[in-house]
Symmetry: C2
Subunit: 221 residues, 2 copies
């Protein structure tokens, strides 16, 4: 697909990069070995988003739910998230890491990027990265911090700097949000690919954009 055929672009895309463990198993590897293969696809997608003029991407790194998995898996996805950020530091993006830093499961290496926007290079795109995130934690933050006035709930979410998502793309075939930013996803269009995330191809991205163009945006109206 050529860029010229895309007339209606999402401003903000959410990414659920699922299927790393199933991909590993299908390649005769241990489950935890899959996560490291999920780093490069993120950068392929980052390049495509800049090329097509997407303004904001949110990656679902890992959740507090995910850390109930075996320790070897938890260590592997924590390390993959750290490596991804270290690699992004050499690119051109504004980064915001959103997650519960009050837990030993939050990687210490990412504390400098947590809950504040950090600019790398030319800052060509806004990238949000959910690390040790939990939908419940996100909402509780609001309850604990918001004045009891209307309209303050949303501005006091832990994720309040993350804008409403237009399109969510999920790899790995599951048709569910799995707690991905429940407030920012209320009006999002949801596109699911059966392929596992480490098998990312640019065609997946264009399939999703092509489908998105055919949707209407009503924001519930």
């Amino acid at each position: 697909m050529q860029k010229s055929t895309l007339t209606r672009l999402p401003r903000h895309i959410g990414i659920i990069p699922d299927g790393n463990r199933r991909w590993a198993q299908s390649h005769s590897k241990e489950k935890h070995e899959g996560y490291v293969y999920g780093i490069d696809p993120g950068f392929d997608l980052y390049e495509l988003c800049i090329k097509e003029g997407i303004k904001e991407i949110t990656f679902y790194g890992f959740t507090q739910d995910n850390t109930k998995r075996p320790a070897i898996q938890t260590k592997a996805f924590q390390e993959a998230c750290v490596h991804a950020v270290m690699k992004l530091a050499h690119r051109d993006a504004n980064l915001l890491v959103v997650g519960n830093t009050q837990s030993p499961l939050f990687p210490k290496e990412l504390l400098p990027y947590a809950n504040q926007k950090v600019c790398f290079g030319k800052g060509l795109i806004q990238i949000n990265f959910l690390v040790n995130y939990s939908w419940n934690w996100d909402l509780m933050h609001s309850l604990a911090n918001a004045p009891r006035a209307k309209s303050d709930l949303l501005t006091h979410l832990a994720s309040s700097s993350v804008s409403r998502m237009d399109l969510i793309i999920r790899w790995g075939g599951r048709r569910r949000l799995s707690g991905f930013l429940p407030i920012q996803s209320v009006y999002a269009d949801f596109y699911v690919l059966d392929e596992f995330w480490p098998d990312f191809k640019s065609d997946h991205f264009y399939q999703a954009l092509d489908w998105y163009q055919q949707q209407d945006v009503t924001l519930g109206g």
Copy 2:
């Protein structure tokens, strides 16, 4: 499909009955004329759910977003909701209507059923009906009413009596939640049918149950 082949049933199913206006247009009717054709399918589905042992269903009636539509449409879907409840009163279900009653757009006829469970007949199934609902209103209710302690957010939602949904089925082809119970939907599996809601067939229900059986339930873990 026979009941005996269903080994893994959702306890609670959410229903987004979309496509009434598009159905009307495709039948040479005015858009607002579609809603009345959405009542009987709800009862067909109710019968099937009782037959298969589903414990709870939540129907997305209309939202505060929806009431921004032309007045003739708003009147039509308000009336359809009232008729649906009057008809259900002769069946066997526990009914809970959830919605913002502090607005003239909430149908007065449904005030006796609002925000409290009412038992009709043998009460064979729990039916929740969202009427003049808004995700924002639902969450704000919590902010205004919850003590500032952890874990109180969810018990103070306006929809706090509605349990977590296992499966959401949407008719009309749109792949989005449109603000449907953002907290109860965080882990729900999401099945979309292209057919418009007034064209409901029992096969749609069994397609969704068949697909649901092939999913795993991880609750994010």
